[in-house]
């Protein structure tokens, strides 16, 4: 930041290939200093936007940390050079101008995001998301391209599916072999009275398609088992576990660890709920938390014990929130944390969950997996739990 003889401040110029390396390795704030219509047409993923005339006024608000590494770009490098100099005058310590701008970037065939990927209808439908800096048009495109699999279209799956569909998660798979029963409707808000007797997956599809035509619904009218689990979950980015039985929960855990798939897991009973997010390698798995299932008398089902309908909504929406954070890569997912909700006292409690070094599935000593088709007998392991 020395003044040269010309009176101009020295400015670091960075070629597009080095800028790309820096951006990909993280820890860099990327700033687009063009007009919004140029940004919409094509921009580099993850950048902030401040139009040239607003840099001096807005940059401190958008980039409060003056010691942060910032790479500035525009169409060809002229406007961003001006912006970078303004920032240095404001006290920013580590600013570089990307030489040649996005024109050079695109000429080299480097990837850009185009909001043209969103139709005018979508820009309107998701406008409240797009307004959020954490989501934006890029995030909305990412949601539309993402795939979430729901285990169960029941108490938890119903509210999760509704809000994920409304949010524009582009593909929603639903695994459920049950039909809609009148006793479901106290909490399973995706179904309705006229659909009693219909398969839950078909009923859920009808509601989702009515809510948001952008969503592809994939129905799996089956129970997850050792023969189909890898094929079914393999096609998805995030799995949402709202299963009503232990064998399915352990099977899903073991398969998701094998495939490296994140699982947002919740359970409900009575007035109580639990939720955690299991991301293989980043945090513990379900078996680290619960090494073995309780005997049936200690783990009654909702059909035997009862459950407050609202509980399913609260916990299901916490799951939807986790899915969206995982898809967008924002916030702090519940990795290594178990959140308990007690509806009667309206109390949230957070417990820590550690990776178990001796975990038979994700621990250091876990056997190398060679035969992906083989799973233990979960019904026997779970000692008589078969679900409700």
């Amino acid at each position: 930041m020395e003044s040269g003889t010309s009176g101009k401040i020295e400015l670091e110029e960075i070629p597009v290939d080095r800028a790309r390396e820096e951006i990909e390795s993280g820890g860099v704030i990327l700033l687009d200093t063009r007009e919004p219509h140029e940004h919409s047409a094509a921009h580099i993923d993850g950048c902030l936007l401040i139009p040239p005339a607003m840099v001096a006024d807005n940059v401190e608000q958008q980039i409060p940390d003056r010691s942060a590494r910032v790479i500035v770009y525009c169409a060809a490098g002229a406007r961003s050079e001006l912006a970078a100099r303004q920032m240095i005058e404001l006290g920013y310590e580590d600013v570089a101008n990307m030489t040649g701008g996005i024109a050079e970037w695109q000429q080299r065939g480097f990837p850009v995001v185009s909001e043209a990927a969103l139709t005018p209808e979508q820009r309107n439908r998701y406008s409240r998301h797009i307004l959020l800096p954490e989501v934006g048009a890029d995030g909305q495109v990412r949601m539309l391209e993402s795939k979430a699999l729901l285990l169960g279209a029941g108490g938890l799956g119903a509210p999760t599916a509704l809000y994920l569909a409304a949010a524009g998660i582009g593909t929603i798979g639903i695994v459920d072999d049950d039909v809609v029963d009148a006793s479901n409707l106290q909490r399973q808000v995706i179904h309705d009275t006229a659909r009693i007797g219909q398969p839950k997956t078909a009923s859920a599809r009808q509601t989702i398609e009515g809510l948001n035509p952008d969503v592809d619904v994939v129905e799996y009218g089956t129970r997850l088992d050792a023969d189909n689990v890898l094929e079914i979950i393999g096609a998805y980015d995030v799995i949402v576990d709202g299963a009503d039985n232990f064998p399915t929960r352990y099977l899903l855990n073991d398969a998701s660890v094998r495939l490296g798939k994140p699982v947002v897991s919740a359970s409900i009973l009575g007035f109580d709920g639990q939720i955690s997010t299991f991301v293989p390698e980043e945090g513990p798995c379900y078996r680290c938390l619960y090494p073995s299932p309780p005997p049936p008398e200690l783990a009654p089902s909702c059909s035997a014990n009862g459950v407050l309908g609202v509980m399913a909504g609260v916990m299901g929406l916490l799951q939807a929130n986790e899915v969206i954070k995982l898809v967008l890569g924002i916030g702090e997912p519940l990795i290594g944390r178990l959140l308990l909700y007690e509806a009667l006292s309206t109390r949230f409690t957070e417990l820590r969950v550690r990776r178990d070094p001796d975990c038979p599935v994700c621990g250091a000593g876990a056997p190398e997996i060679e035969d992906l088709g083989k799973f233990p007998d979960y019904e026997a392991f779970c000692g008589g739990h078969t679900g409700s």
């Binding site: 285990l151 938390l289 299932p293 783990a299 409690t349 417990l351 820590r352 969950v353």
Partner: protein, 90 residues
């Protein structure tokens, strides 16, 4: 006296109580006070070898006692011991 939180599935054995104040300098001693006061909770918490059942998670405040000193973990006056079973309701 430590606060002990009783999960819903055990409340039928504690006269419906969801929270108890119990004496004990360690997690094991607090749980012993629980099962001597409410004997029907014993088979749910402990195996025949007097070890904590593997399917029962016990936390001291926010930490699983398995990563602390297990039943030997010291318990202070202001600590909370929570018994937490897995649930599968969905």
């Amino acid at each position: 006296m430590a606060k002990v939180k009783i999960p819903p599935v055990l409340r039928q054995h504690t006269g419906g109580e969801s929270e108890l104040e119990l004496e004990g300098a360690s997690v094991g001693a607090v749980l012993e006070a629980l099962v001597s006061g409410f004997p029907d909770t014993r088979p749910q918490l402990f195996g025949e070898d007097d070890e904590l059942n593997r399917f029962v998670n016990v936390y001291l405040n926010d930490e699983d006692v398995r990563v602390l000193d297990g039943l030997e973990t010291a318990v202070g006056e202001t600590d909370t011991v929570m018994i937490l079973p897995a649930m599968a309701g969905g």
